[in-house]
Symmetry: C2
Subunit: 438 residues, 2 copies
Amino acid sequence: MKIRDINITPIALSDPPLLSAAGRHQSYALRLVVEIVSDDGISGLAELPGGVKGEAALREFAPRLDGHDPFDFNRLDRLIDEHFGNPQDTDPFASSLGSTASKKEANARRRKSHVRSAFEVACYDLIGKAMNKRVADLLGGVVRREVPCSAYLFFKYEGGGGELGVNKAPGLTGWEAQRQEAALTPEGIVAEADAMIKAFGFKSIKLKGGAFDPELETNAILALRDHFGPDMPLRFDPNACWSMETARKWGKIMGPALQYYEDPVRGQEQMAELSKELGIPFATNMCTTALADLPGSLRLGSEQIILSDHHFWGGFQPCMTLAQFCKVFGRGLSMHSNSHAGISLMAMAHLAAATPNLTYAVDTHYPWQREDIIVGGRYKIENGNITLPDGPGLGVELDRAALDRLHKQYLAAGIEERDDQTEMRKFRPEFTATPTQF
Amino acid sequence: MKIRDINITPIALSDPPLLSAAGRHQSYALRLVVEIVSDDGISGLAELPGGVKGEAALREFAPRLDGHDPFDFNRLDRLIDEHFGNPQDTDPFASSLGSTASKKEANARRRKSHVRSAFEVACYDLIGKAMNKRVADLLGGVVRREVPCSAYLFFKYEGGGGELGVNKAPGLTGWEAQRQEAALTPEGIVAEADAMIKAFGFKSIKLKGGAFDPELETNAILALRDHFGPDMPLRFDPNACWSMETARKWGKIMGPALQYYEDPVRGQEQMAELSKELGIPFATNMCTTALADLPGSLRLGSEQIILSDHHFWGGFQPCMTLAQFCKVFGRGLSMHSNSHAGISLMAMAHLAAATPNLTYAVDTHYPWQREDIIVGGRYKIENGNITLPDGPGLGVELDRAALDRLHKQYLAAGIEERDDQTEMRKFRPEFTATPTQF
């Protein structure tokens, strides 16, 4: 079985105006859909964050996989190292990139990880389909068919995104209506949580912060605590845009309400310092984001919980290595998400299903999107869980008509790269996404 | 595909009177051959160190795998944890067992690892045979078809082992003759090395020490250096039976000649201390012998090179995790061996073939044995390499007549457990295998 064809399709998913330290989500979230086709006509799928630079990197690398054996992940690694270079290998003792990487270094690393992830995941899907095995079976076996997810709350402006832009579609009810509402206050966040939990049954809550005054965001956490009571796990994540003083001050107040405090400050050093001081669990998907960051994480003790993400860590295999690391070194393990469609959802579900020590419900933006590219349309999240599908590989097939529609939507949207700052400046011209906004 | 039958066969392999800190090899080395058979009649093989206690542990556990899906390694882990207990999981921050484990703890851990290894390896062989894939393909892909091995030299008494006992069979030439000769002096070791290298083409040499006076053993290393010149990598391993003073004194003298100094002293603390002092590469298969030992290894810096062993680490998967650890934390990686037959040789070869950062030639006792249980008989080592076979799974089949013969040999030998100390006392009644003999 060899790879014969590779199809890369950029798509745009309607996305509401969610807020974070980076700014405001654009009306469309860009994704790339990767399909590899074997010489016996079986196809394997993957999905990853979009943008013209990432797409170009994928397209430049793809011809190297002509005739590639999908089982040969060591060869995939070699080809990727040859293509993108491998500075980490030349100095295995190099200090963590997590805290000191320039934006250029971080982008180069991310590009390489995304490309590996795309083809590794697609190869697993292909192998699974060829062998009539679920991807989770190939990753070591299903330890949970129901993968628990966390409600992922955002402060947001009014509007549904996509062709609606900042407007609301009329006549909707429940979560469909709530998704279009503004959430700019603690009460707004509680209303958002109520509607999302009613629709999807989530049993834990993450609030993305970093958008407004820390006092308001802290009050939103306290309001969620009041509303849902002490048994609802709560997480708060200002994307490292808080200063040490801000994170210390509000961390002391919201700390007792939190399951974990995610990336309150920037870099492994600051994370380690504040984590020791506050004595509450710290989580990260920003300061420890690759296997090469683990030595620094251990040396400093920058966090107690690491959020994996098969897109950012370079595929399932690095995430499985991370899981082993977490087991051996006593770290907790959760999972990060970006705005995504059903292929990413399934990849996350298979990885989570096969990871015994996934100790926290996974993040997912999925409720915020309303379009999909998989046959059957939007995948159901019920009782807060993704139920692993029974089919081989990732268990989903590409809806080619939907793919075509969302590709046309991408072409019409005219967005080249995600840029939350520029989007925000349309509404708040003075906005700048600085590392320490608060 | 489910497991339907499990056959466990103890065998005895003729073994010459090799010497180490533990004493003298008995006339037979015990091994266990494990065969799992699927409901569609495909079988998977594994081999591991023998002995009645290990055999009993395997037999007690085996019924739990009735109907087991060989792909479900997470379930295998769960069943093994249920059966053997899992103290490591209850305290992930527990300090390393490597340096502080009691003999009882170490034996319990080893028993559990052996059982996991046996069934994990057999499942990989079964899956490979069912899917027409080599085990190395299932482990990530072949990075080297030729797996380099090191000549494994021993001080030894005269005799060929097995039914020959301490006697020599007449009329043999080359390595077959040399294998029966005594090697009790530097000159004897050089003669052994010459014959072994002429027969197998090894391009690096390991000398097992810990048997005689450190000065004599150091002189053997220096004689090898003189004889083979500076380009022949040399390793020396007294199995941690040297005191700090002894290891310091002779390490300074033989150090410049060594590729690495393997387990000169006992425990991660002493290894770390002496390693810093001598500034030459230290290797271990004694103080860091499980994933649970890695935190201590990192904290102390006990060695620069870790010897994996799929039998002792619990199978291929923990060894692959170890390889990732070595890559991320800048450790070198080699491979340990015990007296073994062709199934273990093949398992070692597939693991080595699929491990990109295996940075040293692997140890193997294989030249010291002369019987086997695989179809075709003894596997050839040429130019110092094991050539990975092309067949599916491990690439070897069980020779049932040979298995039966070596099982009868086991029954006739009357050995219950490996006991090099008792064997040595037959010849040197005062011998005791203490932790610090020299």
